[in-house]
């Protein structure tokens, strides 16, 4: 059984059709890349997987470990092991990143029927994961994403992914707004999270992220559905030919 | 013990009551307006002049400040009209001048020729006498709270002006309403204006107030404005009354959907002035901007009281009030943003900044928010303080003398409210007035 099985997914937002019969199957241990031009529906797909309000599912299905994902609340999906790294992480004034991380980790543990993590254990756990991402502990004392640079926000997202240990991580344009050094740090962090027990979907507009996070399977998305799938070489082909050829095919 | 105290009428209130009696006999016109006048007179007779216990007049105790009421101005004679000829505060600006002398519309001083298509201009007295249908719109905008200045204006409603712009019509040049006061003895004037903009109409309006120094005249004006859907209005206002005058003014605006509206009031004159504004956003998607500049000195007291009423969703409003206060002047700003239930996606910001240039100046600010919808962005900021010493020092260190440095800083401070005026000539003329004010400061 695939970890994520999306069939003929159709989604509308604001009366406009955005996903138009999307099919995708992701197995545990795989890294998929979804590439596509702006407006092809990539971000919508990630939001729909995570359960963001405001989207109307008009057809199709999405199953996570065989369970109907679309019937679950966003926090239930998170507890099941679905993580979305936001393209634009939200700012939460007054709440320190540390407090937020602990609250999230414990909320997920509780829903999974696990015991809450003790404060010293948690600190050890965060310190270890943060160091791998070159995250300064001072940064964790600041309010969640408030005044963070683009790179800090994205590293904070990956840190949260590391702490929540999801079965499926969806990275929505994690490369946007990053310079090459920040990109390398983030990619390194993601690579450390690659595991036989975990799948990752990398959503990106550009090929450059895929130099650092080498996917097993590449999908090209256009006009709300996946129009072609292949190996890593597909990303290179795309880089050469551009999206226009694929859009015509859609 | 809370004994019922029947307020004793002050001399000013007694005089106003007597004037209302006389006016009742003298004015007689079409029924709806007579009724409106009578209702306002009755409310005024009942509540009298406002005092500091009336929340809206907390900082302007009119009962204490208005010692006596000047007699009602007679219609201007030939000499008065002649004297008014040279009183245009914006002589260099091409505009359609509409002149009121001591509250009476004077056609011979006004430019009523070659009106743009769809533009109607009516002397109010004549429209009332003829029972013109547009007079039915007078008194249609009713503020939430009773206001004595507006009630007095309505009780003595007799002359003024009606400007109506039909759907899609456009003013080619600004319409300039000039309120002049002339004469050597103090008189009371009550002018009323009604401006109606049809859907998609575009207008540029200037309203100015001028009069002689040293004559304690009392000018009370009210302007009602209806802006139709998709209309656009730029409104610039200059209050340059004589230095001992009492100026009470009300602006009531009912604004439709998708309107672009800007209001620039500049207050420089009068010993005691109050400008009360109600902007009611009645249609969705409207953008309103207000930027006010106040330059006060001596013992001047100026009160700007503003209510921005967001009654429809998706409107944005920006209010900026800047006051430079010198001498023993007192600058007051009361600004209230209301967001009604259901007026979601309102984006309203208000800021008031006072610059105290002397130890005896006083700044009172009351920015209020009253919010009944949750998906809104509202905020206000208020600051008051003296000129920034570190900035001054920077100027001094560059060899700029203190006076000049102060003038530059003050000019840039109030200039922020003036520089957003779209009309080049008006902007420059008002900047020059500000700069002259600073020169006179010496």
């Amino acid at each position: 059984m695939a970890l994520l099985e999306v069939k003929n997914l159709q989604v509308e937002a604001g009366g406009k059709k955005i996903l138009n019969g999307l099919d995708l199957s992701v197995n545990v241990g795989e890294v998929h890349a979804i590439m596509g031009p702006n407006g092809s529906g990539k971000s919508t797909f990630s939001y729909v997987l995570a359960g963001k309000p405001g989207y109307k599912i008009t057809g199709g299905s999405a199953r996570f470990e065989g369970e109907d994902l679309l019937a679950l609340a966003p926090d239930e999906r998170a507890a099941k092991g679905l993580f979305l790294a936001f393209q634009y992480p939200l700012e939460i004034p007054g709440v320190t990143t540390m407090t937020f991380l602990r609250t999230a980790v414990n909320a997920v543990r509780k829903k999974r029927g696990e015991a809450e993590i003790s404060t010293p254990d948690f600190l050890r756990f965060v310190r270890e994961k943060a160091a791998a991402l070159h995250i300064d502990l001072e940064m964790l004392k600041r309010a969640v994403n408030v005044g963070f640079s683009g790179g800090e926000k994205k590293r904070n997202e990956i840190l949260q992914m590391a702490l929540l240990e999801p079965k499926l991580g969806v990275l929505d344009e994690t490369d946007s707004g990053l310079d090459i050094d920040a990109l390398k740090v983030v990619a390194e962090g993601v690579n450390k999270l690659r595991s036989k027990k975990r799948a990752i979907i990398v959503i990106t507009h550009y090929q450059r992220l895929l130099d650092h996070i080498v996917p097993d399977i590449v999908h090209v998305m256009a006009k709300g559905k996946i129009v072609r799938s292949g190996g890593p070489e597909l990303a290179l082909e795309l880089e050469k030919k551009g999206y226009a050829a694929f859009e015509q095919a859609a | 013990m809370n004994a019922e105290v029947k307020p004793i009428r002050t001399p000013a209130e007694q005089a106003l009551a007597a004037a209302i009696e006389t006016a009742r006999a003298k004015f007689s016109s079409a029924k709806p307006v007579a009724k409106l006048r009578e209702k306002a007179a009755m409310s005024f007779l009942e509540s009298g002049l406002p005092h500091r216990r009336i929340e809206e007049w907390k900082y302007t105790d009119l009962r204490a400040l208005m010692r006596e009421a000047a007699p009602l101005a007679p219609p201007p004679d030939a000499a008065a009209i002649k004297a008014a000829k040279t009183l245009d505060p914006f002589p260099g600006i091409e505009a359609r001048r509409l002149v009121l002398v001591n509250g009476t519309f004077v056609p011979e001083l006004s430019d009523l020729k070659a009106l743009e298509a769809g533009l109607t201009i009516l002397p109010l007295a004549r429209a009332l006498a003829e029972g013109h249908k547009l007079t039915g719109k007078i008194g249609a905008i009713v503020p939430d709270t009773y206001d004595a200045a507006l009630a007095l204006n309505t009780a003595f409603l007799n002359d003024g002006i009606i400007i109506a712009l039909e759907k899609d019509a456009k003013t080619e040049k600004p319409i300039h309403i000039i309120h002049c006061n002339v004469g050597k003895s103090p008189v009371a004037t009550f002018a009323r204006a009604l401006i109606l903009l049809g859907a998609s109409a575009r207008a540029h309006i200037i309203e100015s107030f001028v009069g002689p120094d040293g004559v304690g005249y009392q000018a009370n004006s009210a302007l009602e404005l209806h802006a139709g859907d998709d209309s656009k209005l730029d409104f610039v206002r200059l209050q340059a009354e004589g230095d001992t005058a009492l100026h009470l003014a009300t602006l009531l605006a009912e604004i439709g959907a998708r309107v672009k509206f800007s209001l620039h009031p500049v207050t420089m004159g009068a010993a005691l002035s109050r400008f009360s504004v109600l902007l009611r956003f009645a249609g969705a998607g409207t953008e309103g901007k207000l930027a006010a500049a106040n330059l006060l000195r001596g013992r001047q007291h100026a009160d700007t009281t503003l209510v921005v009423d967001h009654a429809a969703p998706g409107c944005s409003s920006r209010e900026l009030n800047k006051s430079a206060l010198d001498g023993a002047s007192r600058g007051i700003f009361q600004g209230k943003i209301i967001v009604r239930h259901g007026a979601q996606k309102t984006d309203a910001r208000m800021a008031t900044h006072a610059l105290l240039l002397s130890d005896n100046a006083e700044s009172d600010n009351k920015p209020e928010l009253e919010i009944f919808a949750d998906d809104v962005q509202c905020g206000h900021g208020a600051t008051s303080g003296a000129l920034d010493e570190t900035l001054l020092f920077y100027f001094l260190a560059r060899g700029i003398p203190r006076e000049q440095a102060e003038a530059l800083l003050i000019q840039s401070f109030v200039g922020e409210a003036i520089e957003t005026i779209a009309h080049d000539g008006l902007r420059e003329a008002l900047m020059e007035r500000a700069s002259n004010w600073l020169k006179e400061r010496g």
Partner: protein, 135 residues
């Protein structure tokens, strides 16, 4: 907050939360008298709205009677945005936990000034009074 003495400093932080059908009003006077030279005040008055039947009112009176007084006042109203709730829920927090996190962040400036025991109590009280205000 009435400033009579020279160089006196004051600070007001008001955080109002209105949920369901409640109304919250801030009314405050800041005044500097003639002789209170160098007086300073900073006022921050924020309202958080939860749900669309509640109301927030801010009525500050700011009276500066001498030029060297420096007064600053800021007020904002905001709501807990859908996006923020979704972000928290994506990290596994339930809707109520998400609201609690945001509200605690909102009132933090005030609660952190309280002695520990009070702060803990206050936090619990907030949690109780917000129960059922979402979802």
């Amino acid at each position: 907050m009435i400033h009579l003495g020279k160089n006196s400093t004051s600070r007001i932080i008001s955080k109002g939360i209105a949920a369901a059908s409640s109304n919250n009003t801030y009314r405050g006077l800041v005044s500097a008298h003639r002789k209170a030279t160098g007086a300073r005040n900073f006022t921050n008055c924020d309202s958080l709205l939860i749900g669309n039947n509640c109301g927030a009112h801010t009525v500050p009176y700011i009276e500066a009677k001498n030029s060297s007084a420096v007064f600053e006042h800021e007020a904002t109203t905001s709501k807990i945005s859908e996006d923020t709730l979704f972000y928290c829920m994506q990290r596994g927090l339930s809707a109520e936990e998400a609201v609690a996190v945001v509200v605690n962040g909102f009132v933090k400036d005030v609660l952190q000034q309280l002695p520990m025991e009070f702060a803990v109590e206050a936090q619990k009280l907030i949690a109780i009074s917000l129960e059922g205000s979402v979802g």
